[in-house]
Amino acid sequence: MILLQNVSKHYPLRGAQNGLKEVIALDEIDLTIDTGEFVSFVGQSGAGKSTLLKMLFADEAPTSGSVNIDGWEITTIRSWQIPYLRRQIGVVFQDFKLLPAKTVFENIAFAMEVGGERTAEIRRTVPQLLRLVNLSDKADQYPWQLSGGEAQRVSLARALAFRPKILLADEPTGNLDALHAWDLLQLLLKINKLGTTILLATHDEALVNSVKRRVITLDRGRVAKDQATGTYAL
């Protein structure tokens, strides 16, 4: 379960003029997300979607309020605990964040090696993950040999390497065409069906509308709408 209570995030503004000293990215947000939910965060650029997701894997700390994710309190988490938190949360990024000098197989194996997984387990799990994202035949290819959709699926497979209970996807379809975006969404739904909580931040109206799940609309750092089976409407 994810619980946000009165969460605000302010960024100091350098060279501030006209009395404006900081940018308010999130403003007193209260949210509860249950285990197994599929939640889409929508909103214009700068609405606070990415900041919110970054807080959930401790890449940003809130200025005030409390962020609790599966028992981890982000406001008081110690730096040595962050790696353990991150191994329980999968993250998919808009720009994939794949290593260009490593093959598809190695990119996924790399994350598992970093997490201290045994070599035998890595050899067993990576092909399973590649099967899940339909990329078994691309294991030996490099990221530059893949289409955007394929690269994003590799990124998704890597995020799933530690069987996370929560998967965060920050604009995962931002660099994909409609067809690949649709493919990826189907994968996310499939993963959600297996029990993983999914938090999706996106601009993609068609995508959100087709999901028919909970939609939270953010506007200037505040929750403007929270609909149980919502549509994309700004």
Partner: protein, 304 residues
């Protein structure tokens, strides 16, 4: 940290070293220069100390005894002297021994040997040769021998005052060591700066990898570790190369040093052979510590 993680960190460190081989060689080269300076400083210190010791050993106080001093009296004075805390040894030289030594020294000089034969008696005096534990003690020992207590037995006290030479040599040695130490420290700082920047350049090349490592939950040690291993490799290689040329260099240098120091009584190569373990540890620890300290400084802020 499990053995599996340690193994991966070492493996990645070795991979880093080879992937950035030119940067690694640059850092190793500067470390090598620093260790060369350290080697020079070590040789200067060892040779300097040996010379100082050799000269100190040449100094002694000789108390010439009067003819009234019997062997018993001479031995009593000897025992007195040996009781002093600052005296290392006392040697009693009888008249006969003095004459024998004199003859041996001047045996080839016919004028002297003839002159000796003309004399009815042995003209040489018995003496006590005193060696002190430190050069600073000689004036005090000499003063003691000149005291009224020994007046009837001691006719003359002489000591070759080499203290000036010793002091001068000590000052030269101290200054040389100080300059050597300063140069070594300066080179060490340069080595740290170059290694620091080398690793920073390497980290720049790995920034994507490091970012992803952070995101997928790598522990700080997993991120820092390979760079520290790379540091150990650079320092270790610099130490191996230093030892590789240092020992042959000492072999070549040793006979030349022996000719000047301690009348051939000091062998630098022998010293080096006796201290091979200490010297090896010194260079390995110096190289590795220098290199790891700079790597540590460079990666510190990358592992939050």
């Amino acid at each position: 940290m499990t053995w599996l993680t340690v193994g991966r960190v070492v493996q990645w460190g070795v991979r880093h070293f080879w992937r950035n081989i030119w940067l690694s060689l640059a850092a190793t080269g500067v470390l090598l220069l620093t260790l060369a300076m350290l080697a020079l400083l070590l040789i200067i210190t060892v040779v300097g100390r040996a010379s100082l010791k050799a000269i100190e050993e040449k100094v002694d106080v000789t108390a010439f005894l009067t003819d009234v001093a019997t062997a018993e009296a001479a031995l009593a004075v000897k025992a007195d002297l040996e009781g002093r805390a600052d005296v290392a040894s006392v040697q009693y030289v009888t008249k006969e021994q003095a004459l024998a030594a004199f003859r041996a020294r001047h045996g080839s000089n016919t004028v002297i040997t003839q002159a000796l034969q003309e004399l009815p008696d042995n003209p040489l005096q018995a003496s006590l040769v005193v060696r002190a534990k430190s050069a600073q003690a000689y004036p005090d020992i000499a003063a003691g021998l000149n005291s009224p207590k020994y007046q009837p037995f001691v006719s003359k006290v002489t000591f070759e005052d080499n203290r000036d030479v010793i002091n001068r040599l000590a000052v030269i040695l101290r200054t040389t060591r100080r300059i050597g130490l300063i140069l070594t420290v300066v080179l060490a700082v340069i080595a740290i700066l170059v290694t620091f920047n080398t690793i920073r350049l390497a980290i720049y090349g790995y920034r994507e990898e490091i970012e992803i490592m952070h995101l997928v939950g790598a522990s700080p040690w997993f991120i820092k570790g390979p760079f520290l291993v790379e540091g150990v490799l650079q320092g270790g290689i610099a130490a191996v190369v230093t030892l590789f040329y240092l020992y042959p260099f000492i072999q070549v240098l040793s006979p030349r040093v022996s000719a000047f120091v301690a009348d051939g009584g000091f062998q630098l190569s022998q010293w080096a052979a006796e201290h091979v373990l200490g010297v090896t540890i010194l260079f390995f620890s110096a190289g590795i510590i220098l290199s790891v300290v700079s790597s540590w400084a460079a990666v510190r802020r990358y592992a939050r």
